[in-house]
């Protein structure tokens, strides 16, 4: 790297990011027909497919940011007040084995989605259900079977995902056989969205799954009223995938630019273990100075390294606090 990092950082985005998301494929309004929704979903997913297959070095951050957004939407949907920062705190400040609380558990469930390769989503799903405290019963088993059935058939990916969501949401309805708690999004609905994303990734033969379904589904928050039925309609779900895929592409472009900036700052770092720290920053949504990085950096050393990266504009401090700081791309 001969060029000076700073000047390159400002002029370099085109070199770093994949082709920009084409404006014509961007979904603006609700589609008038199923064909329109399918067209937009196909266009957006094929853009997304390029990025996923390339499996860029920063795909770890990307997947975990998607999981964070999905968790934030699910928490909102459950009627809770936690935002992304509160979710990050719950994740970082819980000792291993302790309970991160209802919101933190949702984040962990979404992170499970891309924790293993797509072929092993069943294992991840059981882990996610366990974290959420959902019992391993017939309904859960039926949901898994339904998802496997849809993944095995030959429908186009977004339609398969929509079908899985509609089927399993019924199976996993909040407390099946119990008085319904008013239809607000429970853990079951989260798991249905989770399965839809897993099946989408499997149908597209992606190496990893990406949380997509939750953000548009739960973005409105609150309780689904009369539109509840429409929520399950294939057109609505397929269109939601079009929007979510476009957003994931935008996030990937942004993260690509930031990763490029981080890599350009790399030659200026002399700290021992800086390489491990950079790799961790490209893999994780956020890190604290006490995160074990590469095993050889002290907390003090990590804090100095992160502060230096912030000063270089290569990393952001995500909390705005003076203590318990978290750093990430």
């Amino acid at each position: 790297m001969l060029a000076r990092g700073d000047s390159l950082g400002f002029s370099g985005p085109s070199a770093a990011s994949p082709a920009a998301f084409p404006a014509w494929a961007r979904a603006v309004e609700a589609p008038e027909s199923e064909a329109e929704a399918a067209y937009l979903a196909g266009a957006a997913l094929s853009q997304l497919d390029k990025v996923v297959r390339e499996n860029p070095p920063w795909s770890g951050v990307w997947r975990r940011r998607q999981a964070l957004a999905a968790a934030a939407a699910s928490v909102l949907r459950a009627g809770r007040a936690e935002d992304e920062l509160a979710l990050r705190d719950a994740f970082h400040l819980t000792r291993p084995g302790a309970d991160p609380g209802p919101a933190g558990r949702r984040l962990i469930a979404w992170r499970e989605l891309s924790a293993r390769s797509v072929g092993h989503w069943r294992l991840s799903f059981e882990a996610a259900a366990e974290v959420l405290g959902v019992r391993q019963d017939e309904a859960l088993q039926e949901a898994i079977d339904a998802a496997e059935g849809c993944a095995g058939r030959n429908r186009p990916a977004p339609f398969a995902a929509a079908q899985v969501f509609a089927l399993t949401r019924r199976d996993l309805a909040p407390g099946a056989g119990r008085p319904s708690p008013g239809g607000r999004g429970g853990e079951g609905e989260l798991l249905a969205a989770w399965l839809a994303d897993a099946v989408l990734a499997q149908r597209l033969r992606w190496p990893f799954a990406l949380p997509l379904r939750a953000a548009p589904l739960f973005a409105g928050g609150g309780r689904p009223a009369a539109r509840d039925v429409a929520h399950d309609a294939e057109t609505t779900i397929v269109f939601a995938y079009a929007k979510a895929a476009a957003r994931a592409c935008e996030l990937s472009a942004e993260l690509g630019r930031r990763a490029q900036k981080l890599l350009e700052a790399a030659p200026k770092l002399r700290a021992k273990g800086a390489g491990a720290a950079l790799a961790a920053l490209l893999d994780e949504d956020s890190l604290s100075a006490s995160s074990k990085i590469g095993g050889q950096m002290s907390e003090r050393g990590a804090r100095r390294l992160f502060d230096r990266l912030v000063a270089l504009g290569a990393v952001r401090e995500l909390t705005g606090r003076a203590t318990f700081r978290l750093y990430g791309l």
């Binding site: 007040a81 209802p102 933190g104």
Partner: protein
């Protein structure tokens, strides 16, 4: 290993020598006996050890419930397992017969603290004090922890990094809830946007405390010991 395996090895779970109806009855009997004999909720995996591989546990439980119709007790599904509970209406009778001294009678103030943790978890002792408008003592927290109702969750990103507390599966089981969504009137709090902690503004004490007391009327607290009387 070998010791724990032997009894299940000896117990004939498939019961292939019995005709189907008798087999089903035997399975029902085993499941009911296991739940009856346990003080804690019995988990599915434990029950699965006493019935055949092709046996649908949910149907077995349904059939037992059918038989218990009209009895003053029932099998309820709590905290991920099943447990016998006396029916709600018999609480007064039980108290009259056995005296008011139930073993885990919560004091009113501890009950309020516990319910506040249930609704607003994860929440620190400091936030609880602020929220309830009076000091919540370490002793009160320790006693709730001792009862197994709460546990330490994430630390709070504030000076001293105090633990925020969360409720345990034991809490759900004791009060007969299957999940936190079964807490009384939780929807009112959801609609008011009161659940969970935001990153900036923590809870604004007094207004919320009275709202919480109003919404609860401490109902869940008084039902607890009655349901637990089985």
């Amino acid at each position: 290993m070998a010791r724990s395996r032997r009894p299940t090895g000896e117990l004939d779970t498939e019961l292939e020598d019995l005709p189907a109806p008798a087999r089903w009855r035997e399975w029902m009997g085993r499941v009911e006996a296991a739940i009856f004999a346990s003080a804690e909720p019995v988990l599915r995996e434990n029950l699965a050890r006493v019935v055949g591989r092709g046996c649908n546990l949910d149907l077995v439980i349904e059939d037992i419930r059918d038989e218990l119709r009209g009895r003053p007790y029932e099998i309820v599904s709590v905290a991920g397992g099943w447990s016998f509970r006396t029916k709600l209406g018999f609480g007064d009778a039980i108290r009259t017969a056995l005296g008011a001294a139930q073993k885990t009678e919560l004091s009113r103030s501890n009950a309020l603290i516990l319910m506040a943790i249930g609704y607003f978890q994860p929440i620190t002792r400091g936030e609880l004090s602020q929220f309830l408008g009076r000091e919540v003592s370490r002793d009160a927290i320790a006693s709730l922890r001792g009862e197994g109702f709460i546990a330490a969750g994430p630390r709070s990103p504030t000076p001293g990094a105090p633990y925020a507390y969360v409720t345990t599966p034991g809490f759900l089981s004791h009060f007969g809830f299957e999940s936190l969504r079964d807490l009384p009137d939780i929807e009112k709090l959801e609609d008011a946007g009161l659940l969970g902690r935001t990153s900036e503004a923590l809870l604004d004490g007094d207004a919320l405390a009275s709202e919480l007391r109003g919404a609860l009327g401490l109902r869940g607290v008084e039902e607890g010991p009655e349901e637990d009387a089985a």
